[in-house]
Symmetry: C2
Subunit: 450 residues, 2 copies
């Protein structure tokens, strides 16, 4: 079958993606250089791979670490990490929102994100509006969470006010941007049973992971779910299902594990299990010792990490929408329906193939990287695949092997973090833009893929 | 969008599948009863789970074992196993061929399998023709292989003629039906460097795994590949690619492993690597010690096992065609094509969703079973997932944990073998039959899914 003349090919569509990747790489180079300075550390200077790994992990809001953040990095180094996290989170959130807007406009789909009349391009005004919106949302949520956390660390733990504010700011930025960096050597394990620390951080992580379009819509139409876009309803319902199922399963699996939840009182176990369900998608903080979890819990966490959060937010992974499209294709197929319907909307056919492509290429990448790292090390499949999915989905959880991996394996993780951060976003929008075939039979609506 | 009135739903379409499952269950009950008899064993009688597991493994041509075949089972027991293998292989091969024919007729697709005029049902004459054809092909290939093997065991290993014939018959039936049962406690490890044993068995395995429609077409049109159906060309090309890539990768990975290929001369290593690439798809014989392979080789084997062989043959797994459809969807999507083309043919849209559904439900089943077995045992993910995929794809390879699994885990493997043997076939055809939407724009052709 002939294709349309002049249709943008994947190569042409991917060019903005290349520009963005270059911009990310530029920031990464600066971050690596700054972290290599003697002023960035307490003791010996960072090696090139340590600086590059940490900068990538911060910019891609992953949170994988090869050195102990509070011990190794000086306050200057920690500020560099914080700034990289903020740039990375802000950058991906705005970028993915703009790409989603652009795709919707180009495909002639209604978008309720802006009130302007229907056009087929994204104008300077849109860019300004999105950037302002993301900045405002970020500032609001981060400030609120920082205040709560700072108060708790000041009043509850007796930290002096200056340090409490710094701790509050760092962990609120790190949580809203789903980065998972912490200023405690045991991450959040010291606060596993403290809801005043865990719950604001969880809330911040979940909000960041919903994505900017969802937050905007919820802000305006929280009480009118029937008016929500397909993207919003999918992300909200999917988040609730994954959080609840993940929390129940992980709490049960770890309930009597003395090295994780078993040592806590029942309320602490529930809080710890809930936190363990929030963090794989894809914040990467941990309040229990991941290396001591049951291997079955690792597998459950693998799945949560791979699915990830909502599109156009600070979460990584395949995205809930991509996963939901695949799920509803199967439902439609098992019911024998000709159309794939999802929350009362019909999915355009093109989204089926896009979701499939994003998902299967991600699977192939994860398998390939896992194979490569297994050949370089003696770690078992469960630890390696956990590490690989965690890097790809920019989660940052680890069974404890990151720092002891050989440099070549760390380099693979660096590449995975980079691809995982930008790949699904770029691929999803490039695929959506690469087909111009429109179907007018019925009104349609599409979630953002990737 | 409204659905067509009177369209068969998945529930109605699946009824023949239920009948077939019942028939399989009936044979299974008889096989289990026979294997429970004192005459079936050398020493103590088999427990219920041992008899049921072995009967399921034989009937589903899997080859997973919980007791040592030549040591535990008497000649009577071995004959029961052989008969179950033959019933299972013959049954699935004929059944899947007939279902494929039925689907093609119902969807109004041309089928070149029979020369009769186009009808929309499968008549008694078709059933007779298919059963006769499968029986003839089976008898021909099994006889030829049995003769070669018997001669080798007689002349090369000094077995007395009667035993040589029995060995030849058993291993030729076991190989053509992709069962993987052997009459040696170390399976085929004693013959790793003997091409006179390995190559006939590999040839028999590959032929059985191509599937009946492909064998029939190759017999008639071997020299005219341009006239092959899409099903045939997909299976042939896919088989060659998977065999070659698998052999090269596994030979390299195990080349200097002293517990597997490392102890052999170079020719033996190549033969052993080739055999290790043939057997996961999905015969399950092993000529090297699977438990000693590198975990990365397990992962490669996992992939080969999960893909499996051609449809309507004795191989299990997702099937090459299902995998190929997914692969070419991704290719089309990355190229920005509106149609998915594969070897010069356009795939009907309905096949996209069918392949996706078969593949993702299989993934979900594998993950679920893996989680369940991990909770029951202390084995690591790599061993458990290998065991689960091996059972689901009716391969029968094992890292050595089958016999020591608790009965509940063995019960899960029994269910997996059963679902793995019939599920993709039944699901694939039920899905294909459950949609009656026809697209006439261009001539199309479909491979068998599942
Ligand atoms: K993270
Ligand atoms: K087998």
């Amino acid at each position: 079958m002939a294709t349309f003349g002049g249709r943008p090919t994947i190569l042409r569509s991917i060019q903005p993606g290349q520009l963005i990747a270059l911009a990310f790489a530029g920031v990464l180079a600066i971050g690596t250089a700054l972290l290599s300075l003697p002023i960035a550390v307490h003791g010996r200077s960072a090696t090139f791979i340590e600086a590059l790994f940490t900068a990538t992990s911060a910019l891609c809001v992953t949170g994988h670490i090869v050195v102990d953040t509070p011990v190794f990095w000086s306050p200057f180094g920690q500020v560099v990490i914080l700034v990289l996290i903020q740039i990375g989170g802000f950058g991906v959130m705005s970028l993915a929102t703009l790409l989603g807007l652009f795709v919707a406009r180009r495909l002639g789909l209604r978008t309720r994100l802006t009130a302007v009349s229907e056009t087929h391009t994204v104008a300077v005004g849109d860019v300004r509006r999105v950037l302002t919106g993301v900045a405002l949302i970020t500032l609001t949520i981060e400030s609120a969470v920082a205040v709560l956390l700072a108060l708790r660390w000041w009043l509850g733990y007796g930290e002096d006010p200056g340090r409490a504010v710094w701790l509050g700011v760092f962990h609120s930025v790190s949580s809203f941007n789903n980065a998972g960096f912490a200023l405690f050597s045991d991450n959040l394990m010291g606060f596993v049973a403290d809801p005043w620390i865990c719950l604001p951080i969880c809330a911040s992580v979940i909000l960041g992971g919903l994505g900017f379009p969802v937050i905007m819509e919820l802000r305006k139409k929280f009480r009118f779910p029937r008016a929500w876009t397909l993207n919003t309803i999918t992300v909200v319902v999917g988040s609730i299902v994954l959080l609840v199922v993940g929390a129940v399963v992980l709490t049960i699996l770890e309930w009597s594990n003395p090295a994780t939840l078993g040592a806590l009182d029942p309320a602490g176990r529930v809080l710890g299990g809930f936190t363990a369900s929030v963090m794989p998608r894809t914040a990467g903080f941990n309040s229990i010792d991941v290396s001591q979890m049951h291997p079955a819990s690792w597998l459950v966490t693998d799945i949560l990490m791979f699915i990830g959060g909502g599109p156009a937010g600070t979460a990584g992974g395949l995205k809930i929408t991509t996963f939901a499209v695949l799920f509803f294709i199967i439902v439609a197929e098992l019911r024998g329906d000709t159309a794939v319907n999802m929350f009362g909307k019909r999915l355009p056919r093109s989204t089926h193939r896009e979701a499939l492509t994003v998902a299967l290429l991600s699977v192939a990448l994860v398998i390939g990287a896992t194979l490569a790292i297994m050949l370089m090390t003696d770690y078992s499949l469960d630890r390696v695949v956990f590490e690989v999915i965690s890097a790809f989905a920019t989660v940052g959880l680890s069974t404890g092997i990151t720092a002891s991996l050989p440099p070549a394996a760390q380099a693979i993780l660096i590449v995975l973090m980079f691809i995982g951060r930008l790949g699904p976003v770029a691929l999803g929008s490039a695929l959506a833009l690469s087909t111009q075939k429109r179907q007018y039979e019925l009104p349609k609506e599409r979630p953002i893929i990737g």
